[in-house]
Amino acid sequence: MGNNRLFETATLTSSGRPVFLPNEVECQLLSNVDLEAEEESSSLFSLQSGLLILTTHRLLWFSSSSSSSAAPPVSASIPLASITHIFSPKKSIKSIFTSHRIRFQVTATDSRSVVIKVVVRGKVDWDGFLGNVWDCWRGRAWESFDTSERPCASGGLYGTDGSVRMVGVAGILRKEQEMWETTDKSLQDAFQDLNALMSKAKEMVMLAEKMRQKLLSGSSTQTSSTNEDEIGSKEEMHDWLLSVGIVSPVTKESVGALYHQQLLRQLADFVRNPLERAGGMINLIDIYCLFNRARGTELISPDDLMQACSLWQKFDVPVMLRKFDSGVMVIQNKSHSDEEIFNRIRAVVKKSEALRAGISASDAAITIGIAPAMAKEYLLSAESKGLLCRDISPDGFRFYINLFPNIDSLDVYLEMRASSKKWPLMVEQKWWRGGGQS
C-alpha cells in the first residue's frame, strides 16, 4: 500500500466534495482508479481503487469511503503544472483486454521526478478522458490565475517589461481601445465553438456583468429616449444572465454512474446557506427551486433530488431528509433538535392571550421565528407528544396547551358565571403558580 509523501493531500468539504481553488473547474470524475508512483522501475506507493477527479488545475485522488469508516480518508493532489510529460499510451492487442492506463512524468513536492501511472478499471470513455487530460494540461488555467496577481509597476512611461505605459488622456484612450480589441477577440474566439465557449465561460460572465451595469446606468440617465431596440436587448441580456450559474455543475456526463453520489455531496454543500437563513429547516420544494435556479443549466429533476436526499443517510453528510406525518418533506441539519422549538412553543402557549384563544400556525410562525409551513408541522408534532391539543372551529385550526392531563375529572366544579371566559386565567393561577407544568 505505501504512504503518499510525494504529493500534498486534497481537502474536502464537510460533505465530501473537494474544495476547489479559485477559478478551478471540475472536468471529469472517474471511479475505481488506481494511482501508482514509480521511480526507476521501483514502486514508491500505490493507491488502490479510489475516485479520480480531473480539474483545470489538478488531478485529485480520493479513497472512496461511502460511509464514515474508522480509517481516515487518503487523498492526493497533483497539480497539472507539475506534469512535465505525458506518455502516449501504447496501443497493443493486450491493451484492449486490460484496464486503461496512462503515465505522466511529474515533479513531486520534494523535487524528485517520478512517473505516475493512472489505472482505470471498468467502462469509461477513455478517449474522451484522454482528450480532457490533454486539454486541461495544455490549457494552463493556473497560469492566468498567477498573472492576475502580478503587482503593477509604477513610474516612467515604459513599464518593467518594456511595453508602453498608459499615461494621460492619450493613455486612457489607448487603454479603452485595447480593452475593446481584446473583448472583441475574446467574443469571437468564444463563439467559434462550444468547447471554447465553455472554457471562456468565466470571462463571458464578467463581460455580461459589465454590460449589465452599463445597461442599468444607461437607462437611468436616458429618461426620454427609450427605443424598442434597447428594451429588447436589455431583456435578452437579462435572460442570458439568468442562464449563467454554478461554475462547475455536476452533470451526468462528467460523472457517469456516480452522478447521484456526487450530486448529493454538492447538494449537501449548497443547502447549508439556505438552511441557515431559514432557521435550520427548509422545505424540499424550496430547495428544488433554489438549487435549480443556481445551476441555471443542467437542471436536476425532482426525482434526482429525491434520490440524492434519500442517499444522504448512507453517506457522511451533515444534513438529512425528514418526512413529517403529514407527508411534508424537509431538509434539516443532523444536529438540529426539535426540543428547542418545542420549548419555544411551550412558552408561547402559556401566555395569557394564547390561554384564552390558542395559537394558529401563522401566530406560531411569527412568534417562534420559523416558516409558516414548518410551523404547522411543529405544532402537529407537539400535539402528538401531548404538549398541545387542537381546536377546530369556524375560527380556524388552532392549538391550545394540553390541559387534559391536569383535569381531575368532575371533582372540580365551578358555578358558571356570565363571564365564564375567566376560566383559562383561573387555570393559569391554579396550575401554574410557581412556574410551570409541562
Binding site: 383535569i407 366544579y413 371566559k421
Partner: protein
C-alpha cells in the same frame, strides 16, 4: 347557561379543545373519559334517559365559547358509554341512545327496595303505577323511562322475584311480586 338549569358545569366545559375530537391517543382517552362522566352525571341529575344525536342536547354545545360537538364526536362519546355498559343504542342508525346512569341491575335493586319499603311483597301493581304512582314519588322510580323499567322487571322475572302479565288494556302490563 339557563338551559342547564341548576346543573353545575365543570370548569373544563369552557376549554375550547374539549369540543374538538382529539386525534392523539392519550389525549383522546382523557377527553372521552371526561365526556362520559359528564354525560352520565348530567343525565342522572336531570333525569334524562334518552339522548337523540341530532337533538339540541345542551351539553353538546357551549354558546359562551361558541363551540359545539360534531356529529362524529357525539357518536364517539356515546359509543364509549355503550361499550362501558352505561348506555344502549335504541336504533341501528345510532340516532337515539338510552342512557343507563343506573345499570339495569341497579334499577332492579331499586325496584326490590321499593317493594320492600312499601310492603308490596305479594301484591300486584301495574307498570305504570310503579313509575308514576303515589308510592313512587320521591324515589328514583318516579318518571323512570319505561323501557328501562321493563328491562329491570324482566331481569327480576328471570330471578323469580316477580311475574309480568298482560293487563286489561293493550299497553298496560301488570306485575305480581313474589319477593
Amino acid at each position: 347557561m339557563q338551559k342547564l338549569g341548576d346543573y353545575k358545569l365543570p370548569q373544563f366545559f369552557n376549554y375550547p379543545p374539549y369540543f374538538t375530537l382529539q386525534p392523539v391517543r392519550d389525549t383522546r382517552e382523557k377527553q372521552v373519559q371526561l365526556w362520559k362522566e359528564m354525560i352520565v352525571d348530567y343525565c342522572r341529575t336531570q333525569k334524562i334517559f334518552v339522548i337523540g344525536l341530532e337533538d339540541d342536547f345542551p351539553l353538546f354545545s357551549n354558546p359562551v365559547i361558541q363551540r359545539f360537538l360534531s356529529h362524529e364526536a357525539r357518536e364517539v362519546f356515546l359509543s364509549a358509554l355503550v361499550s362501558d355498559g352505561r348506555a344502549e343504542w335504541l336504533d341501528k342508525g345510532h340516532r337515539k341512545c338510552l342512557i343507563l346512569w343506573h345499570r339495569i341491575q341497579d334499577w332492579a335493586e331499586i325496584v326490590l327496595q321499593f317493594v320492600k319499603d312499601n310492603g308490596l311483597e305479594d301484591s300486584v301493581m301495574t307498570v305504570e303505577e310503579i313509575r308514576s304512582g303515589i308510592e313512587s314519588r320521591g324515589t328514583e322510580l318516579h318518571g323512570v323511562d319505561r323501557t328501562i323499567l321493563m328491562r329491570a322487571l324482566k331481569l327480576l322475572e328471570n330471578k323469580g322475584k316477580l311475574a309480568i302479565f298482560k293487563g286489561t288494556s293493550a299497553d298496560d302490563e301488570g306485575v305480581k311480586f313474589s319477593v
